[in-house]
Symmetry: C2
């Protein structure tokens, strides 16, 4: 009984089998492995992913154990070590560069890697350089003889690219560009790998020739010596300091004091300066625009959604192990997932994970299709894809980040410990609301497209698939007569469609009437911008529900179809309950119908409760990826917390804290004790 | 023009006057100093606060410069140093222990102090100890001859106190208690000051005597040697590891292996074990209950609201310095606060800061009143105060935490840098949603009181002030005919009252009908719990609007009354817009009226925009308290960011990173360059 004897050697004492409270939750109404295969895009992918993960997690060099005790410097050094170690491993194993392997590696290591922007440096040279430039620089970069970064954002300039202030002035006499930071706000700020690592940078700068400004262009600038890595003369470079997360990344700053680079260092696939200083534009650089979209499409699955899923895995598993308070008086304390309030916090987020997963899959397909069109020089679908990617990026990053924090809080006090694994997920994923396009700016961009489509529909033009509903508004009201009717996807899809239509139409109308009343367009847009953002959000929300419903149809397995149908219903009805005003405003739903939605929603919570653990298990994250004492597969929450606390290096310092810190201050009155 | 020359010595070059973009915003429609005096509770308090702050900020020992570069250990040691240094300073200056000085010190140092739980240790002995126990222990604790903590929470037990497992068994033979940790889940976990600092603890344990359990009681247990600070035999103690914030606090764990303590160490004001093992209860310990309420009341102003206010100060100031994108084509880039979407993010939070400030003031008054009653042995108002404090604690911590994150994101990329000051505010303040009562649990507690009051009202009983509206429901609909009508507090107060009434009545009805239908009460409560939480939230929301409206009336200065009237309107209307469904559901507001609310709300944004900077300046936070490059009083955002980055110790390591980290990996092909 005296457990305290166990404290020092509890490893022997605890049962390393599965905690029975968790084990009993793993009976599912469907085959978990089949769902895992679906989520991986096929059983073959599952096998490949697991083999990559096994390689990585059995390699001690790549272990992330003890990551919560590491300093920024240790995290940085560890990432550099991981990255170079992996470069060798990838060669040895013959892993190919097919997008999948990269993703599996990233997933296994939670992005604890360095040289992320070196890849952007490479791709920008490939995309923007001439054949000669590619031939010169790519082999150097591929062999890591040089390490590059991509320096665009400045201290005073982010969103608005035309506002960048760094200049590159052509000097006809020497056939060089003089690259300069004219002002403190022009300091390059934020590029990853710049602070400590890179030797070269693709610098975005305002091109000047013969006194004339030709706008933003890319230039290769050497930053540091290849001999001793010191900053070259005229260059001030360093790390911008600690951030909310990304401790392993050396985001940096760069001041260029009239640095001279040869004419050949301007990346010249699409434009060039002739020796006499004449500017020549060549072809269209629309394809670059496409690169930005590609990043937004892939980041949702690879960086953003994974954080929400992992938080759900951790919080759901913990919630069937953690017991707190008597539910039924006199009985054992209840699993916290049996409280309706806990289900209300977590299960809609499990549903959101699936919704965003299927959305990301769908958007990827659209992307592939448009990519093929573009290769055939057909740019017609580009605006739609751009709007879709912008809106979905903003929508998904926002709900995934907020969702992670809800999961964390749902774990109570222990959720606040880094050992839960969730604080680190949150502080990292929330950055995605800002990078690759600030979310409000993206929603405003997407709304421009929606307003255009709305106007086109008014004129009777045919619209592209994602906005076709703007041509045929449903002006009636919801036909549901009971709470069961709300489990019909047609019913809730129509409600979402109606809501999006109403908000887009209403924003368009306001904008139009303000302009008609004599207001300048820019002011009218600004005065409508809160509504325009809402219009984009409701369009995205409709799109996500629609994609989920459509992807459901293609699932072969009836058990899985059944459980995911409930998950889809839960996602859709939760969205109606939490945005009730939008659906009630014009009477599309009546108050009575809203009560039916609430009833259906609360009932679904108890239905999905039963499959909660299998639904998160299916995402197949290993303990080495979750890094969570609360979410480990075996459910031995308290043993893991206790064990991890023993590893805290602070506990090793022992009495030195007393000697060095406390003792000088304490005046003792020991005789009294 | 070549700014880059300035990089190394820009200090000389920049203008240390106020950034003109910020200076031009400081013309206000009211006297800022007068508002500051109101917020401080009088000009005398303002003077006192400023004198305390001046003392602290002119003392180099207490400087928090470079805090963003510090390790956990450095933060801990710094806090210990700060605390002992302050103990001396407080004596020297003759600062009295009146609540105000403590608050001003906490505010000045942002809580970067140690021994916070030592105070709880002291107060619990004072409250729970006999006169002899107080006489023995208090002088030792006051002189820091011993350092104490309060060990209640266990690894497996938080919310549900009755579930705590630590035992204290009386041994009649030796007249000792045997205090023991019977199980891993009984490990004391989380107490502050326990990990590295304390020598003693008040341990909460299940009292056993003669085989019978008498429930939770407090015992003083010595943990560490006073000679060398090592753990005493049978005690396993240490730090629980890193958390989302509170790097300076050594939250700890404690395993007690049948530790024997003398009978006199049970704190015995309210109950005692006689030498023969008989348990004797003495008087009521209701007063303890009151201590918990006191903490919830004071933490809102002292810990929680300050974070939101500071985030608002930083984000608002930054938003008039940061310029991004052309608003009017061809003109200078616009201040981001001139975008409606930015106003929509920040100004409701400025309004929330004022709303919660006035609420905290009001709740403190109620608290004082009830305290006087209780001293006269009248406990009648205690349930109401308990519910009020629980609900407001949950409501305020939630919106303040979320608000800080909105402010941070509204600062774009730079908001993600620790130098913005906001990440650190968020990761710390969000803990308040969990500690001192988890928010969902608190709302459920508050809703119990509301349901009781509702039932009492049905029976015609008179209700206490905060719930009196449950006796007289407004069954009609909103009388507003134009958007201007919504600037009438009577109109929006009635709407909030109606909403709260409807949600409380609806939850009560559901609960009642489930029980009537034969469901066991505990299941019925659980099946209604999502609605019960919403009932409490809407009641709190109404209460906050009501307190704000009432406090407005007492403001003497007409200019300030005018601007704060608009702030109050904005707070109230923003709440209606963002919770539209609740107001539309039963037709209390029509869709058309909701449009009027939106119009009134958007118009208020442009009104308050003009006073935005004065409204945040009035809270009078100094740069040493904001610790923000973005929010400094002088508005030299970019200079501060640049300067702070230069101080990054990582930048001092220079080439060592190359030698130790990068060089071993790089294979160079320099001949090609």
């Amino acid at each position: 009984m005296a457990w305290s004897n166990v404290a020092s050697n509890y490893k022997k004492a605890i049962n390393r089998d599965i905690n029975p409270d968790l084990a009993s939750e793993r009976k599912s109404t469907f085959n978990i492995e089949t769902l895992t295969n679906i989520l991986d895009g096929g059983a073959e992918n599952t096998r490949l992913r697991r083999s990559v993960e096994e390689e990585i997690h059995s390699d001690p060099v790549l272990s992330r154990e003890n990551i919560y005790f590491k300093t920024r410097q240790e995290r940085y050094e560890g990432s550099v070590r991981n990255t170079f170690h992996l470069i060798t491993k990838i060669k040895q194993k013959g892993w190919i560069n097919d997008g999948l392997h990269d993703y599996y590696i990233y997933r296994a290591l939670g992005g604890e890697l360095a040289l992320n922007i070196h890849g952007v440096f490479l791709r920008s040279i490939q995309a923007l350089g001439t054949d000669e430039q590619v031939a010169k620089w790519i082999p150097l970069a591929n062999s890591y003889s040089i390490i590059g970064t991509y320096a665009q954002t400045e201290l005073g300039h982010g969103t608005y690219l035309r506002g960048l202030e760094t200049t590159a002035t052509f000097d006809v006499d020497t056939q060089e560009f003089i690259v300069n930071t004219p002002n403190i706000t022009a300091t390059k700020w934020w590029p990853g790998d710049l602070g400590k690592t890179c030797t070269h940078a693709v610098v975005l700068a305002q091109l000047y020739s013969k006194g004339k400004n030709y706008g933003m262009h890319p230039f290769i600038v050497q930053i540091r010596s290849l001999q001793d890595h010191s900053a070259l003369p005229g260059i001030t470079v360093g790390d911008i300091g600690p951030k909310m997360a990304f401790e392993n990344i050396d985001n940096g700053f760069l001041v260029l004091n009239n640095i001279r680079i040869p004419k050949e260092n301007m990346l010249s696939r699409f434009s060039e300066i002739l020796p006499d200083g004449t500017y020549v534009k060549r072809g269209s650089d629309k394809i670059n625009y496409f690169t930005m979209i590609a990043v937004r499409v892939t980041m949702i699955r690879n960086e953003v959604l994974g954080a929400l899923i992992k938080a759900c895995v951790i919080a759901v598993r913990y919630s069937v192990v953690r017991r707190q308070s008597e539910l039924k008086p006199g009985e054992k304390e209840a699993k916290i997932l049996d409280y309706q309030t806990q289900q209300h916090k977590l299960l809609p987020l499990v549903a959101t994970s699936y919704a965003i997963y299927f959305t990301a899959t769908y958007v990827s397909k659209v992307y592939e299709q448009v990519y093929q069109e573009i290769k055939a020089n057909n740019f017609e679908s580009l605006p739609e894809l751009h709007a879709l990617a912008a809106g979905v990026k903003a929508f998904a990053t926002e709900i995934c980040s907020n969702g992670v924090e809800v999961c964390r809080k749902a774990c109570g006090g222990h959720g606040y410990s880094l050992f839960s694994g969730i604080p680190t997920l949150y502080t990292k994923v929330v950055a995605s609301c800002t990078y690759e396009g600030e979310n409000t700016v993206l929603h405003l961009q997407a709304s421009r497209f929606l307003i255009k489509c709305f106007a086109a529909a008014q004129l009777g033009h045919k619209l592209s698939p994602t906005t076709a509903y703007l041509s045929s508004p449903d002006s009636g009201s919801c036909q549901a007569n009971s709470h069961v009717d709300f489990l019909n996807p047609d019913i809730y899809l129509k409600a979402y469609q109606h809501r999006a239509y109403r908000l887009i139409a209403s924003a368009a109308k306001k904008l139009h009437s303000l302009i008609q009343s004599g207001m300048e367009e820019y002011l009218a847009r600004n005065s409508t911008s809160v509504e325009l953002v809402n219009a984009s959000i409701t369009h995205c929300h409709y799109t996500v529900v629609k994609f989920f419903v459509e992807e459901l149809k293609s699932l072969g397995d009836p058990d899985i179809q059944k459980v995911l149908k409930s998950v889809c219903d839960l996602y859709a009805l939760h969205g109606i309950v939490t945005n009730a005003g939008d659906f009630l405003r014009d009477g599309y739903l009546s108050g009575k119908q809203m009560e039916m939605v609430t009833t259906a929603y609360l009932h679904l919570l108890s239905v999905i409760r039963k499959d909660a653990v299998p639904l998160v298990d299916a995402f197949d994250y290993r303990d080495e990826q979750l890094l969570s004492a609360l979410g480990a597969y075996d459910g031995h929450v308290y043993q893991h917390l206790f064990e991890w606390a023993q590893k805290n290096p602070d506990n090793k310092k022992g009495n030195s804290i007393f000697e060095n810190v406390l003792k000088p201050y304490l005046h003792r009155g020991q005789s009294k004790l």
